[in-house]
Amino acid sequence: MIDARRRRVLKGALAAVGVAFATGLVSARAVLAAWNAAAFRAEDPATALQGLLGTSEHTPSDAVRLQAPDDAENAAAVRVTVEVDLPNVRSISLIASGNPYPLVASFELGPRAEGFISTSIKMAQTADVVAVVKTDDAILSAAKRVNAAAGRCVG
């Protein structure tokens, strides 16, 4: 009887460890799979977009409004705001064309999210900031030259 109970307890404990292990593995793998190294470690914008969206083509559009300063006071923190006047925006990605790794960030928007993102990025040198927006049926963009000459070199 004691043996039977011990077995049950042991079995339960083993099952719990198994579940914890399995979920741990799954979440670690999910995070690794989700961060797209081919895109984020690409050294030019076209390769980065190819890795992220499957194409490097994008169409400049007035529906994508990109706000960034003409002259960055601090190249280590350049405020960039993107607003998209379209429904069904799937993702907004930010590229600093002159950075060693140009694809800086990508935002996947859930069904409830509005086409709006604001964040701060680093700029290694004066270059175009490009916002690339994926909707249900197009890949659109807006670009703006930002003078980062006064700033520190940061990558």
């Binding site: 670690a28 995070v31 989700a34 961060w35 797209n36 984020f40 280590a76 923190a77 350049v78 405020r79 705001t81 600093a96 950075n99 060693p100 790794y101 694809l103 800086v104 960030a105 990508s106 935002f107 996947e108 928007l109 859930g110 409830r112 999210a113 509005e114 709006f116 993102i117 604001s118 964040t119 701060s120 990025i121 680093k122 940061v154 990558g155």
Partner: protein
């Protein structure tokens, strides 16, 4: 202390979220100015924002996002009193999360 500050306000059916996160966001490309040794990369790779249990935004970042990142976004729905969670995981496997109440 998660190092995540969130302000979320619901107005006219839209919830506006602003957040400040304490994180070094080291790109791995800088060198220590005294020793000339490379400073190891440490940056947030994934950030997830949930309203109740629904993911409203998932961000993938690099060391090109500024130190102590700022993030603002908006979503449809959300009411005062609803929980809103932001969590992140960095390239070293560290993580943090914070839940606030929509005002």
């Amino acid at each position: 202390m998660s190092g995540i500050r969130i302000r979320a306000e619901a107005k006219d059916g839209i919830t506006s979220v602003r957040s400040l996160i304490t994180h070094p966001m080291e790109s791995g490309l800088r060198k220590d100015s005294e020793t000339d040794e490379p400073i190891p990369a440490q940056f947030i790779q994934e950030l997830v924002c949930k309203w109740k249990d629904e993911v409203v935004l998932r961000a993938h970042w690099t060391g090109g996002v500024s130190k102590d990142p700022y993030l603002a976004f908006r979503f449809r729905g959300g009411e005062p009193g609803d929980p809103l969670e932001i969590s992140w995981t960095d390239n070293l496997g560290q993580s943090a999360s914070e839940t606030t109440t929509i005002r």
